[in-house]
């Protein structure tokens, strides 16, 4: 039997990491709709929503821009990821290994792990912001990117980070169950935040979204977050998952093509309703307390009390936990002799240290774009390998066929555009002030380079 043919015999808990998912393990569309509904209503939403308002986005642009951006994201999942996932039925990592080589996958995974640590760090900050509220610990965002908050807040971050890292060392199962239990309730809580905040804005002297934007801009200076920026962000904030093909690992279980529409529920509940509701929390807070700080814990506490505190803690924790767990696995891949528990702890420590700098979580809009810019282009390699290589007379899955651990065509095609993109980001050149703009150019450049370099290297071979 060839390696890509499926076998029907498998253990009940087998994850099919190095073989195609067999027919008997496929899942119907309902499972995917349920999964995506919960996955995108999480800790990041409490942070991203208010940041739109803080960045000066108008409510009209937000409503229409996110609608369009989320629609484009859903289409990308449906028509870019799902067809390849259903034909190959392999994880992203195994597909990359066959195309780029085991060493290249370790490098990709390591970079992914580092980025995961910073994402988890932001979620530690989110959870700590809620833990600090009952203890009256202020969430202060210092001027400097690597400036610490108050000593008490830093202490809470360290305690929360340590607990999350310790739980991540035990695996992801228990926290995944907590996330599944909380998911339907969390969706309602997000909506509740929006309704209560809207009622607070309407009551007494009416206060509009524009008033809130004006207040923030008077305090923090004028910022601009226009329609197309919102569209691009809504589309590409999950760039690593759709353009980057990370969700091949999910859709390889799809029985039906229609499962590819399931991310729509995550987009429209999480990245539409939840973001706007979370943003309304900040608008209401500005009206009632003249406080423009995007402190997720305090925002939720002021609107809905203890329910908000519990929701923010669970949302942050259940996002940070699998992130630290997967970062630990990535680090373990680099050092094969190491223990997963030790590597998870290392990831947890890095995440906790990142979480101690509140400004990093305040940069979540840019971080998410950077994440897609760095990891997204690898999806172009998979796309080209799947759709174009054979048609152009080139060999697919070249590393697997040639037995190389580092297929240079993939590495150069990935690192060159990403390196140039990072240069633009960190030197603040054109488009670099908003990294999400770079996801698609880097993706296209990577795909084209991979094709050209394959033509050259495979001929030589």
């Amino acid at each position: 039997m060839s390696e890509t043919q499926s076998s029907e015999t498998h253990a009940a808990n087998e994850e099919f990491e190095r073989r195609p998912v067999p027919n008997s393990a496929l899942k119907g569309p309902g499972k995917f709709w349920g999964m995506y509904a919960g996955e995108h209503t999480a800790g990041t939403e409490f942070m991203i929503g208010p940041l739109f308002l803080a960045a000066g986005a108008s409510i009209q642009d937000l409503i229409i821009g996110l609608l369009l951006g989320n629609l484009l994201a859903t289409l990308t999942w449906r028509f870019l990821v799902t067809p390849i996932a259903m034909r190959k039925r392999l994880t992203l990592y195994y597909q990359l290994e066959r195309i780029a080589g085991g060493g290249a996958v370790k490098l990709y995974n390591f970079v992914n792990g580092i980025l995961f640590c910073f994402l988890a760090g932001a979620m530690v900050t989110v959870s700590a912001s809620a833990v600090g509220v009952p203890f009256n610990v202020a969430f202060e965002v210092p001027e400097a990117t690597f400036g610490l908050g108050s000593p008490q807040f830093t202490l809470i971050v360290l305690i929360v980070g340590a607990i999350i890292a310790a739980i991540a060392c035990k695996g992801y199962e228990m926290v995944a169950r907590v996330a599944n239990i909380a998911a339907p309730w969390m969706i309602v809580v997000f909506a509740a935040c929006g309704l209560v905040s809207y009622a607070q804005m309407k009551s007494g002297t009416p206060f509009t979204w524009d008033d809130a934007v004006r207040f923030i801009q008077e305090k923090n200076g004028v910022q601009e977050f226009g329609f197309w920026k919102i569209v691009i962000f809504g589309w590409l904030c999950n760039g690593a998952m759709h353009f980057g093909m990370a969700d091949l690992s999910i859709f390889r279980f799809a029985r039906d093509k229609s499962s590819g529409w399931a991310p729509a529920i995550g987009m429209f509940l999480g990245h539409y309703v939840a973001w706007i509701c979370a943003a309304l929390l900040l608008a209401a807070q500005i009206k009632l307390h003249q406080d423009p700080t995007a402190n997720p814990g305090m925002l939720a506490w002021r609107a809905i009390g203890w329910t908000g505190i519990v929701c923010v803690i669970i949302a942050g924790w259940t996002t940070a936990n699998p992130t630290i767990y997967r970062a630990g696995l990535a680090f373990q891949g680099i050092l094969p002799g190491s223990k997963r528990v030790v590597m998870t702890l290392v990831a947890g420590i890095v995440a906790t240290l990142a979480g101690a700098f509140p400004n990093l979580s305040g940069q979540l809009l840019n971080f998410v774009g950077l994440y897609g810019t760095v990891l997204g282009p690898m999806g172009a390699v998979i796309f080209v390998d799947f759709w174009l290589m054979k048609k152009l007379g080139l060999r697919e899955e070249y590393a697997s066929a040639s037995g190389t651990a580092f297929h240079p065509a993939v590495l150069i095609a990935w690192l060159l555009p990403v390196g140039f993109g990072l240069f633009l980001v960190f030197t603040n050149k054109t488009f670099g002030d908003f990294p999400a703009y770079l996801v698609i150019p880097c993706w296209i450049a990577c795909g084209l380079l991979y094709l050209v370099l394959s033509k050259l290297t495979q001929k030589k071979a």
């Binding site: 169950r177 209560v196 607070q200």
Partner: protein, 66 residues
């Protein structure tokens, strides 16, 4: 037994949703809503832990989505 837990959880969810709607219509104030939502949360978890806690994990559960 599962249907009982499901009913309890649904009741909790309804209570959680009802409070904010009543705030919006002006029927209750924000402090009262905080109590209603707290009660709703407790009822939700009483029902949802035994109802949803034992369900098998899905492929997305160990994945990271933003």
């Amino acid at each position: 037994m599962n249907s009982v837990f499901k009913a309890i959880a649904s009741g909790g969810l309804l209570l959680t949703a009802a409070g904010p709607i009543l705030v919006l219509t002006g029927a209750i104030d924000v402090p009262t809503n905080k109590t209603v939502m707290l009660a709703g949360m407790i009822v939700w978890f009483i029902g949802a832990i035994p109802w949803l806690g034992g369900k098998p994990l899905q492929p997305a559960d160990d994945q990271v989505e933003i």
